[in-house]
Amino acid sequence: MLMGQILSLAGMFEGKHVTWMPSYGPEMRGGTANCTVVVSDEEVASPVTSQAEVIVAMNIPSLLKFEKAVTPGGYLFINQSVVDREPTRIDINIVKVPCNDIADALGNLKVANMVMLGAVVEKTKVVSLDSIFMALEKKLTGGKASLIEVNKEAIKKGMEAAK
């Protein structure tokens, strides 16, 4: 969810039209909490989509639920550390990133999502790394400011992993 917000913020800094739309309610307990981010040069109309160009699956349930929603030719990012299944689609680009392993190596499991974010940015170029860093600094303030560095590191590692 945070990943999505950072992405949206970064898009906003670039003057793009963005929306971030979470799923909410009891699904949160079900483990498939997710959000939809639309970053677009045009005015954003529908924040809900049945299809998406880029989908990120951080765990198995999410993979099962959302795999079918990737538009043909789109991207499916998979957290390889957790998801030990193979996706079934062949008409899409599949990017596997061992997010947890990389994050673990950085000494903070919580930045797994930032690793993934780096991978997404690298592959899709939807926003620039600078914007992402700006967004990160905007989002992590106060006590959390100390985490900025490790997050940046994670993003960079993610980018590398996806190259």
Partner: protein, 353 residues
């Protein structure tokens, strides 16, 4: 220019209210609008305002009534079942002509329903959920920025016309984050004081009373006529709507709020496939822009009304369009949000293409 920030719809409404000079919020938790009271519980103490979590929506609306009696800007927020519980109090406020802003983040209904986005409370909001002759101004934003702007407008209209104003949103608008620009903080001293009627202590003046009651039907009728006159004035001056690509449109989609914005994608999609579609999006659900829609509808191939309900605004669309054009309806219920694709499919089906 003010900074753009990325915020959730519910929180954006809260911040906008504070900027509009609201320093009083009463509310009872209910999904999917909890972020708004939660935001207020944090923010109000920061700006010297008061947030009070009430014992129920019935108590809430009566606290709002009490605060409004003093001429103070006040607001509440709830979701569908809670809004139903407020109906008695809303009717009282309408009759006593009390200004306030009421937010309803509509969820799937009826009954307990679910907590997903819905537009099932259109009738309740526009046709009087409470008893008696009255109407409330009802505003329906379709973006987070519009939610901000309409919140400020809501307070101003409430004060101008001495009436409760409803902001009707849903889980999409409420939960979504979008970049917005907030207006400046209103100087509290410039807010209307309502010295001529508000209950502030009969200090050196005749006592004031605020009531929704007269035992004599002829007097009550006069009170009613006064309200009706006010409503006519609002109808004359406050109709708001958006027209999108209607200039050359052969097909008009009518939709409000969340569906209004989804419908824009449909318009684009349709035009890509050579179908000249446009969108008519009422922003004030009451007063409903009947005249403009009637005008627009003349000579159109199809009016497609799309809502997240069984066809509620549809009645107003029919009242406007009469026999001028064919009207069709596409709706989803129970908290299901239609996608642009499915609306477009429906449109094509109605057009037999």
């Amino acid at each position: 220019m003010a900074e753009r920030v990325l915020v959730k719809g519910t929180e954006a409404i809260g911040e906008a209210a504070i900027r509009a000079g609201c320093r009083l919020f009463f509310g009872y938790p209910i999904t999917p609008q909890n972020e708004l009271p939660e935001y207020m519980s944090k923010r109000m103490p920061e700006v010297g305002g008061t947030f009070l979590q009430t014992e129920s929506e019935v108590a809430t609306i009566n606290m709002v009534y009490g605060a409004a009696c003093t001429g103070t800007r006040v607001m509440t927020s709830t979701s569908s079942p809670g809004f139903s519980l407020m109906q008695e109090g809303i009717s009282y406020m309408a009759c006593a002509q009390l200004p306030a802003v009421l937010v309803n983040v509509v969820r799937g209904g009826p009954g307990l329903g679910d907590i997903q986005p819905s537009q099932g409370d259109y009738w309740q909001a526009t046709k009087g959920g409470g008893h008696g002759d009255y109407k409330l101004i009802v505003l329906a934003p379709s973006t987070v920025q519009e939610a901000v702007d309409l919140t400020v407008l809501a307070f101003d209209l409430a004060d101008k016309y001495r009436t409760p104003v409803v902001i009707i949103a849903d889980g999409v608008i409420g939960q979504m984050m979008e970049p917005v620009t907030f207006p400046e903080f209103r100087n509290l001293n410039t807010l209307p004081k309502h010295d001529d009627w508000a209950l502030t202590g009969a200090n050196g003046r005749e006592k004031h009373i605020v009531v929704s009651f007269d035992i004599d039907p002829h007097v009550l009728e006069k009170m009613n006529l006064e309200i009706v006159e006010k409503l006519r004035k609002i109808e004359a001056n406050e109709k708001r709507w958006e027209e999108y690509k209607l200039e050359d449109a052969e097909i008009v989609i009518t939709a409000f709020g969340t569906v209004g914005r989804i419908a824009k994608s449909v318009v684009e999609q349709a035009r890509k496939e050579g179908i000249k579609a446009g969108l008519f999006r009422p922003i004030t659900l009451w007063p409903f822009p009947y005249e403009r829609l009637e005008e627009i509808s003349k000579g159109k191939k199809l009016i497609l009304d799309v809502e997240m309900n069984m066809g509620q605004m549809l009645e107003d669309v029919k009242l406007a369009v009469k026999d001028h054009a064919r009207i069709e309806f596409y709706g989803r219920m129970g908290g299901v949000v239609p996608t642009p694709d499915e609306i477009f499919e429906a449109l094509k089906k109605f057009l037999n293409v």
